[in-house]
Every structure is written in C-alpha cells, then in structure tokens.
C-alpha cells in the first residue's frame, strides 16, 4: 500500500514494475491513468481553449484521505498491491495527473477496486482544479456525475 502526492511526473512502467515485482500471487493488475484533457469552454459567443490547469491540494489532509480510501478498498476486496500517485501544481493538456493501480489474484476484484478508488478520489480527496483560459483563470465546479459515481459504492 503506497500513497504519494507529488509535483513531479511519474513513470507508469517503473511504478508498476516496483508494485508487482516478485509478487507471484497477482493474476490481474488494473491501472488507471488520468490525463489532462484538452477542453473547450463555451463562454458567451466565444469558444475558449483551456491551456492548462493548476491542481491545488491540502497537504496533510490529502495523504490521510488517500490512505483512508485505500484502506476502505482493502477492506472490501482481496488485494495484493495498491498504489495511488497524485500530482499537484501546474499541468498542461496531455500531462498525467493521477495513477491508480490495483493487483489482485482475480481480475474482477482488481477492476472493481480500481474503479472504486478512482471514483472516491474524485469526491473524497482534497484537490481543486484552477483552469487557465485565454480570458482568465476559473475554478472548476464540482461535477454531479462524480458524486453519482462515488455514491454507487455506498450501496455495498
């Protein structure tokens, strides 16, 4: 179980190698990589491109929240390896934001736990996105779909 918050980019291949290396009980490894997507913001008559964003977070609380989320996943599924790496700071389109990796003896558990972690990350981890547009900076508003995605796990 590893949780890291960092400004630097991460190397997906190296992270996964380190996570699974030597563990012969892992049958399936499911990995999510979140990337900054090039987006357009419709604002009045103009369609403005979002050039980059800054991810602010709450140091200290972030690590606690990520560890809580990971502990909850390990309570629900039999997992051999879990990893969350989340970046903060300024990111441009195409940049990696987050890495979530889950290794389990069985692929179903790995898929479910990885999706659970990603859904919870979006709603339970203290990160805020500030977008840069040609007309100025804009704080991203919470997305109802994210709450709905996280809520489906509450039924379990």
């Amino acid at each position: 179980m590893t949780v890291r918050v960092q400004e630097a980019d991460f190397d997906v291949g190296a992270e996964l190698e380190r996570l699974t290396n030597g563990n012969r009980r892992i049958g399936g490894l499911v990995v999510f990589v979140g990337l900054v997507r090039e987006m357009h913001l419709r604002d009045g008559l103009h369609r403005e491109r979002i050039e980059a964003l800054t991810l602010e977070h709450y140091p200290g609380m972030t690590e606690k929240a990520l560890e809580d989320i990971e502990t909850e996943a390990r309570r629900r599924w039999t997992l051999e390896a879990t990893l969350i790496v989340h970046r903060h700071g300024r990111l441009e389109a195409g940049d990696r934001i987050v890495l979530v990796a889950v290794g389990s003896p069985h692929r179903d558990a790995a898929f479910e736990a990885c999706e659970f972690l990603v859904d919870w990350l979006k709603t339970k981890a203290p990160f805020w996105k500030l977008e840069e547009t040609p007309v100025g900076e804009k704080w991203v508003e919470a997305h109802e779909g994210d709450d709905a995605a996280a809520a489906r796990w509450a039924k379990k």
């Binding site: 602010e56 709450y58 929240a65 989340h86 339970k124 981890a125 990160f127 805020w128």
Partner: protein
C-alpha cells in the same frame, strides 16, 4: 487554533490561513462558521449560509455538528474537483 481556506475561498477571505483564539461559546464547526462571518466582509461572503463548502477538523472531513474541543486546525474548502 489555525483556520485554513482553500481554492476560491482563500481569495475571497483574503488569507490562506489565520490564527484565532476560540471564544468559549464556539463549540462546533457550525458555530465557528457563524463567528468567522463576523470578522470581515470577505469571511461573510466566503462562508455565506447558501454557499457550497465543506470543512475538515485536524485534516479529516467534518460535518458542521463536529465539536472543536482539542482541535488544532480547522479548514474550509469548496467541493473537491480533483482526480
């Protein structure tokens, strides 16, 4: 006690954090919100009754009825938009 603000709330309040001496009659997060609103127009706007914001006590998410006894840090922030 340290009070911290994040994202747009930090800009609206005007400071990222401040040290306060908690009045004896301020016992919960909700009571702290009410008391902070009286400190400046920025506080009043950021912590307005209708605004969507959350809180944490000692870096764990907290509802407004959570008691502040023994807490060293309270934070206020808009809904999370990370990942």
């Amino acid at each position: 006690m340290k009070v911290r603000y994040f994202a747009w709330m930090k800009r609206t309040v005007g400071v990222a954090e401040e040290e306060i001496v908690l009045p004896a009659d301020v016992r919960t997060v909700g009571e702290l919100v009410e008391w902070l609103r009286t400190r400046s127009s920025g506080h009043a706007e950021a912590l307005a009754a209708g605004a969507a914001f959350g809180a944490a006590v000692d870096q764990r998410t907290a509802t407004f009825d959570v008691r502040l006894a023994g807490a060293s840090e309270v934070a206020f922030f808009p809904p999370f938009t990370g990942g």
